[in-house]
């Protein structure tokens, strides 16, 4: 009995391979993850409006994509630094947000920046790119602070920390961003 001729098996599997190469995509999706607040009712919104002047950083993006921070124009490149200084308030500046002392798991008693609010107001005519760059800069500011704390406390970056350590750090520097639509 002669052996089965398998020369064309290679061709057949090549064809399958090419089919899969064409129909599938390998792209991994990258992006900026954000958490939306739950839908709010009217009373809650009014309560939120009462924020002390020193605790608020008011970011506005106008229709022609100009960014203002507390009504002063600011470049997007400088925003992350500004956010960093604002949230950390390392020098106890009375014009920067109040810090409160709290017991934090793993870190002990330390100063926590849980009063600050970053208020974001974006004109509906601004482009998505401008909005995205602003969000990116704010997140960059927070990430740098969190990474700094993670390095000094746990000797690794924030993303390398375990969930417990991340929670502790996020408690010291919580992301408090409030988005308002002016309608």
């Amino acid at each position: 009995m002669p052996g089965l001729d398998t020369t064309s098996t290679a061709d057949i599997s090549f064809m399958l391979l090419i089919f899969f190469l064409v129909t599938s995509s390998m792209d991994t999706d990258w992006g900026l993850p954000r958490q939306l607040p739950p839908p709010e009712n009217q009373t809650q919104q009014e309560e939120e409006l009462i924020v002390k002047q020193r605790n608020a950083l008011c970011l506005k993006l106008s229709a022609d994509n100009v960014l203002t921070c507390n009504d002063e124009p600011l470049k997007v490149e400088e925003l992350s630094k500004r956010v960093e200084e604002f949230v950390a308030n390392s020098t106890d500046d009375p014009t920067l947000p109040e810090m409160s002392e709290r017991e934090v798991h793993l870190l002990g008693r330390c100063k926590v920046s849980d009063r600050h609010v970053i208020i974001v107001e974006v004109s509906p005519m601004a482009t998505y790119d401008a909005y995205f760059q602003m969000q990116n800069a704010v997140v960059a500011g927070y990430n740098r602070l969190r990474n700094g704390l993670a390095q000094s406390q746990f000797h690794r970056t924030y993303t390398q920390c375990n969930a417990e350590q991340r929670d502790a750090i996020a408690m010291v520097y919580p992301q408090r961003i409030s988005e308002r639509s002016d309608e």
Binding site: L17, G31, F132, N136
Partner: protein
């Protein structure tokens, strides 16, 4: 004597390359591709160019991600943007039904970490994004992801 040498060379035959293992090799590559890739499940009808950011993260748990595309439609004016859900163009009002359908499709493990990835063009007016966000908020799909590519840090 020389003649004899040539004669001997003529007789020697080159053995054929053994290709018996070739199909196995190709199959291995095939399986590799089948595992690391996923099928393209939507036909993109909108064209978009996502923004670039420095703080972007890789999206994990593909099965719990739904996509909303916002961009231009070829042949339409450049300043009009459209929303695409699944395979067709949609309106803002369709987003709620879309989220419900996506949620029903997911298994119980994925439901709590359901993420909506917004793939939007850079030039889309923010009002549109805000409207989408509002719709997502109302249907309690609170995890969003602004799709972007990574900018190389200098």
């Amino acid at each position: 004597m020389k003649k004899g040498v040539f004669r001997r060379k003529r007789k020697r035959e080159m053995p054929g390359l053994n290709t018996a293992a070739l199909p196995d090799l190709i199959f291995t590559v095939l399986f590799f591709f089948m595992i690391v890739t996923h099928m393209r499940d939507v036909d993109l009808q909108v064209r978009y160019d996502v923004p670039q950011g420095t703080e972007v993260q890789k999206l994990t748990h593909k099965s719990s991600v739904s996509y909303i595309y916002v961009g231009r439609v070829p042949g339409q004016p450049a300043d009009s943007f459209y929303v695409q859900l699944n395979n067709r163009l949609a309106t803002m009002a369709d987003i709620k039904a879309f989220v419900e359908a996506e949620r029903a499709r997911m298994n119980d493990d994925d439901k709590p970490r359901m993420t909506v990835s917004i793939k939007a063009d850079r030039d889309v007016p923010f009002g549109m994004i805000a409207e989408i966000k509002q719709m997502l908020q109302q249907s309690f799909a609170l995890k969003v992801n602004y799709s972007a590519t990574e900018k190389v840090k200098r």
